[in-house]
Symmetry: C2
Subunit: 224 residues, 2 copies
DNA sequence: CCGCGCACTAGACCAATGTCTAATGCGTCG
DNA sequence: CGACGCATTAGACATTGGTCTAGTGCGCGG
């Protein structure tokens, strides 16, 4: 039974996915790797591979930013250890990730040995954060916490619809992209609003955004 | 003509306003101080006191979060030096503030001498940031920049309406709070959407949020 | 095997949102 | 002063959003 370690790698950047996979091999040897570059494929991967041992999750994928995906997946696979991978390396962000249930946090600036050490530690069952980050006994903001709980309770379709709403799409566009009727989307929207405890889509967007992380605007000096 | 230094202090926390005013006195001696605790009073203060020499602006006031207020005011009073005051003290946030045209940045954790030094430097015409923060030649994210430009172009009423939209209020509620008819709000909304280059209120909210700053969720250890 | 709950689908209907047209008032420039 | 631009106001109308009701398919416990 005891198959090889199975790891899901969710990151929209192919090169970085490859680097992560390389680190995985260096850490656990042979491993089953499932790659996901979009929210949809991530959802599929999580549903299809219930036996996965680890999830590496980028904080910034197209259509999913911040901790919403983490909250959602944590609720469906409580036992799936998840490591957040992000260009953002602020202690506050790292702490929030752990408080949202992540088992580890790897800044994208990390070297290969660091990444391997982190993966090893998390697979072994412990929580890993970069050196020098203290996991003080802070609590999440109350609204952020309750919004995370509510988001986690959404069904897969509802979650996708909500994220599309949070991109500013109209119901009609969402319906077209998902290949269903607009009436269906409206029904989903109503269910989402009820679960989030809000009255309209704007407030739903605010709930999603409360889980967002300030993105590193990182383009450095204006060319050479 | 040369009246006393006139300073506008915008912060919703009375105690902190008082501390800031104290620092002002210690720095420039007697000064005309105009206090603002809400967005509306801030707008009024800026319009009524065209001769103000300095604006101290909290990053987190009820109804206005992040750099939207800074962008808006910078566009109306290009020559009014503005110092951002915030609990957030991350270098990235400080850099963003300066790139949005702030003349200084004072973390709320600063000591009194630091605050006085900062105010003195800015009044003297230079830019002040906390020790150890390098103002590298970074550029703002393109969308953040263009959204800031668009926000700055709104009229006072339009700006207030937009921020109320960004709180999730319905047109009807906004109309009631501002004491005008709902039709008026709708007209404002249309003008806002046009200026922001978007199609609906949800996208307008996203534009505002692109100027937001991650708020420090700072409640520390769960009581003693 | 059957019934039950739930996710998903959808149409009809009502409420909120957004557009178009237009009137008023105010400051500026000629 | 008078013409013009612009912010503000508002009503009529079109579009989008959200609720209600209801049918279908699927998994789970009796």
């Amino acid at each position: 039974m005891d198959a090889r370690t199975k790891i899901i790698v969710a990151d929209d950047h192919p090169l970085f996915r490859e680097a992560l996979i390389h680190a995985i091999k260096g850490c656990v040897g042979a491993a089953d790797v499932v790659e996901a570059a979009t929210l949809e494929s991530l959802q599929d991967a999580v549903e299809d591979h219930v036996d996965a041992d680890l999830l590496l999750l980028d904080l910034h994928m197209p259509g999913v930013t911040g901790f919403s995906a983490l909250a959602y997946i944590r609720n469906r696979r409580e036992m799936l250890p998840t490591v957040i991978v992000s260009a953002n390396d602020e202690p506050a962000t790292i702490r929030r990730a752990i408080q949202h249930g992540a088992s580890g946090f790897i800044p994208k600036s990390s070297g290969m040995e660091t990444i391997e050490a982190a993966l090893g530690a998390v697979i072994a069952g412990s929580v890993w954060v970069p050196d020098g980050v203290a996991l003080e006994a802070t609590r999440l903001d109350q609204k952020e916490q309750s919004n995370a709980d509510a988001l986690a309770d959404l069904t897969p379709h509802q979650f996708r619809v909500l994220l599309m709403i949070a991109e500013g799409l109209m119901n009609k566009q969402i319906a077209y992209q998902l290949g269903v009727s607009e009436a269906t989307i409206k029904a989903h929207v109503t269910a989402i609003l009820k679960k989030l405890g809000v009255n309209n889509r704007t407030q739903a967007v605010l709930a999603v955004k409360s889980l967002d992380v300030e993105q590193k605007a990182f383009n450095g000096t204006a060319d050479g």
